[in-house]
Symmetry: C2
Subunit: 214 residues, 2 copies
């Protein structure tokens, strides 16, 4: 293992490997990428690769870890401003930071999200989202005696899954919708509920009795 991480040669080869690796991931599946491919793309000897990474899985792990570490903490609830007033909630601003962060790290997320062969990336990303949403929901959740514990467990999962689905869809569609529009629709769904957000009342509910039997 080439260890001196300050040596210019080391920095240069590692940067070359990681950058060209991302480039290859944008072209073909991780499965189909060989160490030979990476080495020749980065214009280094194949043996040199093994001086820095155990194998291509270890390289992937490194890249993913660094990419996600950079993602952590970037999702920050903040106030959201329209032309003249502050929208009275953190929700829109929160969603906004998420979309902006993804747009900024386009190359990384595109390589990771749409490459058949990077199995657990979405799963790991979801852990990040989940942790954030749990905190966020617990902060908003002021009156603790009223809440249903199961609901408290389920809701962050529901929302984080939904958000990841939306972000992925947004990416697939070349981000043709503005991040602001997306955030605003999410605000509507979250505050009014999916059904009412569509623009219609919920017709099948004749009375206010709770239908669930607990």
């Amino acid at each position: 293992m080439a260890s001196d991480a300050t040596d210019l040669r080391v920095l240069k080869t590692r940067a070359a490997i990681q950058s060209h690796f991302l480039g290859l991931l944008l072209q073909k599946n991780f499965n189909e990428i060989t160490v030979k491919d990476i080495a020749s793309a980065a214009k280094i000897g194949r043996g040199t690769f093994y001086l820095h990474y155990e194998d291509k899985y270890n390289l992937l792990e490194t890249v993913v870890k660094e990419g996600l570490a950079e993602t952590v903490g970037k999702f920050r609830p903040h106030e959201y401003f329209t032309d003249d007033k502050v929208v009275p909630t953190r929700i829109v601003g929160f969603a906004l930071t998420i979309f902006q962060h993804f747009k900024k790290n386009d190359r990384f997320f595109r390589a990771m999200l749409f490459n058949e062969g990077i199995p657990m990336f979405r799963h790991r990303m979801q852990s990040l989202f989940l942790a954030k949403f749990r905190k966020e929901i617990q902060q908003v959740h002021l009156p603790p005696q009223k809440a249903d514990p199961l609901m408290l467990e389920i809701l962050p999962i529901f929302i984080s899954s939904a958000m990841i689905g939306l972000v992925s869809w947004w990416f697939e569609n070349q981000m043709r919708i503005s991040d602001r529009e997306m955030a605003e629709r999410i605000f509507l769904i979250v505050t009014r509920g999916p059904l009412k957000a569509l623009g219609l009342g919920f017709q099948d509910e004749p009375n206010k009795k709770s239908p669930h039997g607990m």
Copy 2:
């Protein structure tokens, strides 16, 4: 390619291959499974494997395709009964069929959902969900002039992603919550909205003005 799909020998070996393949998937990652592993688990010659499948990816594809084909059409909205009355919506019943189908095909979904190395399974499953939810939402969506088109596009993605997230979580937790309880919570979230479902009103909304500027 051994072609006669009615020959008993063919049926037997294919069944053995697929069954032991699923078994292996429950034990280790798809990446780490070799054709030799599959052949020896199924107690057949390695060459025989290649008489039926091009490679292990082709086998996976076959198994996934059959498994998902069986899944299609199983998600059927229907009425939902509590002890004495019919809950006035299809939603709970719809969610219920989903959870029940997953419980019934435990082995298959467990192998597919939690194996690092089956990249696009969740994605393909989501396509199924998405199609169903699109239909369902369009059916409920009676007054067509009122709806926001972007919302109409986003909502099925939001909900199908959320549902898959919940089902996966449910699986990971050994399905310790009853399918009925899950369906009922989902009903609450969908009809009342995530925030109100938690048991609290939405405090930060002082007036009824729509905060989004479109």
